[in-house]
């Protein structure tokens, strides 16, 4: 088996130790870290009868939580894709005092405990908070609404897009832009038809990571979401609630559904990724 895979899968003898040890290690890692924990989820959920399972995962409150979670995550990842590109662009293309500081600041959402982020955001956007005081009279309620969920997801997801797009922009061949300019392209045409398509795969990777992170986020959201059933309750919170009620099977059933949806979305994004790089050398 290993022998035939090596023949078909890799181009002869490379520098790395070889197919058997590396593939073995990869499988071991994935099995211990990913497969075993996730499959127990399925076993646990399988203790339910089909009707109980459907009852657990398709209750109106649960369905509403899927909508909130995945909807907000999608919007947040889109927002991050947009602002992440602009932040990366600014950091790479311009030299200004404080650039390094700004660059370091980008990673902060990674380092901060998510609960701290949630409490801070809730504090700022509450009706008596700094920004909440300004926004609420304008009719914009952020804290304790789905908007708050979106905001928390944007906060924790931004570094993903910035950090995936940044290296691509840094290595971007400026001559390609010059060539486009010599051919008569204006700034917008050069960006939309040359620069953006070339950084799109990186944007997509960042988008995918930010989306995955947002779907799984719990700590920062519960503080700002308000957690009203049917309105601003996210699926991870629902799972925790079920666990606290000792409904292990119900919790895992919901988790399984979440997992399957996430996996399908990520798979689709991966295919899109492959398509967006179809011009690269095979």
């Amino acid at each position: 088996m290993a022998r035939s895979l090596r023949k078909n899968g890799t181009a002869g003898w490379g520098t790395l130790p070889g197919f058997a040890p590396t593939m073995g290690y990869t499988l071991l890692c994935l099995v211990i870290v990913v497969l075993v924990p996730l499959s127990t989820l399925f076993f646990e959920a399988a203790t339910l009868t089909w009707d109980d399972f459907v009852g657990a995962v398709a209750a109106p409150r649960v369905l509403a939580s899927y909508r909130v979670t995945f909807g907000a995550a999608l919007l947040a990842a889109l927002t991050n894709a947009f602002s992440g590109v602009i932040v990366a662009w600014t950091l790479v293309r311009y030299r200004f005092p404080g650039r390094r500081m700004l660059d370091a600041l980008v990673d902060l959402p990674f380092a901060l405990p998510t609960a701290v982020a949630g409490i801070t955001l809730a504090g700022i956007f509450a009706s008596n908070g700094w920004l909440g005081k300004v926004l609420e009279p304008l009719g914009v309620k952020v804290a304790f609404t789905p908007v708050g969920i979106w905001l928390a997801m944007v906060f924790i997801g931004l570094p993903f897009v910035v950090r995936t797009v940044q290296p691509v922009l840094e290595e971007f061949d400026r001559e390609v832009e010059e060539a486009a300019a010599c051919l008569g392209g204006n700034r917008w045409q050069i960006f939309s038809r040359v620069v953006f398509p070339l950084m799109f795969p990186a944007v997509l990777t960042g988008f995918t990571l930010a989306f995955a992170r947002a779907v799984g986020e719990y700590g920062s959201i519960v503080f700002i979401a308000g957690n009203m059933p049917m309105v601003s309750e996210i699926t991870p919170l629902l799972i925790i609630t079920k666990l606290e009620q000792y409904d292990y099977a119900g919790a895992t059933a919901v988790a399984v559904v979440m997992l399957v949806i996430s996996f399908m979305v990520l798979l689709a994004l991966n295919l899109l990724q492959k398509w967006s790089r179809r011009y690269a050398e095979q």
Partner: protein, 355 residues
Amino acid sequence: MSIEIENVSKRFGAFAALEDVSLSVPSGELVALLGPSGSGKTTLLRIIAGLESVDDGRVLLNGEDASPHDARQRKVGFVFQHYALFRHMNVFDNVAFGLSVKPKKTRPDKEAIRSKVFELLKLIQMEHLWDRYPSQLSGGQRQRVALARALAVEPRVLLLDEPFGALDAKVRQELRRWLRQLHDEIHVTSVFVTHDQEEALEVADRIVVMNRGKVVQEGTPSEVYDHPANPFVFDFLGKVNLFHGRIDNGVAQLGGVRLPTSVPISGGDGPAIGYVRTHDIEISRHGNGIEDITAQVRGVLRVGPLVRVDLLHAGGEQLEVDLSRDVAEVLALQVGEQVFASPRNVRFFVNDYQI
């Protein structure tokens, strides 16, 4: 369309890339900017294209000051050494780019773009590869696509920055012959940068030799090759031998031997350096007269169609001589034997020692 460069200077920090360069390229000519790296030739090309600004002086395109226009407005075709193709577009879309970004009013319709692109693809003999991506093409093919892309917008001037520099020797030769033919067909004013003297001599109508940010000589290939203005040009165009001799009463001497010169020697007496090309030295076993230098054969090496002979002459300097194979076979030189070397066309430079 003609190009005039008037007293252009350009600095990058402390480095003077161009110092007071003036140059004129008549309409329809193919001109080579030739020089070693760092001589400012690429900077000059980029300034003509509007990709670089000038510190001083100005560029006229067709007699009109180009400074208010940026690269986009100058209608100049630019071909980069490393192609700079849009790798996310196929060959067709690359070539069509310049046409498709035109403002709506002047943009040709889809069918017109299509026929124009295929006309160009035919010109570069790549019609059948229209749907390939750049990563699926060879270096020579990529550069041809880059050229077609630049020509698609019918530029007033075509600028090529070391267009064949990244290609292997065989492809390079084919492409430069092809470029020459292409230019003979379409007659667009073209400037190309190269550090390869052979390329410049073969392809260009005129050669502009540059060194350290200055133009050191310009002329037709044979003018520049046969009458180099100074030691730098002599050395840069072709292989050369140096004689350290003296000028006495207008006669060049090397260790008591009078050397023939190609041009009359002006200037005073004193030490002087003579330059002679490696193929302008004749070797014989029996001297021809008083213009012979005795020398010892140090090595004989066959290099393709030529035979390179290393000599050590009586003055104690090395001489490199290129003989044709026929001549070398008749002579059948042995390492260590004494011969006579008779240089022709020696050029002396008295003041300008530096190379």
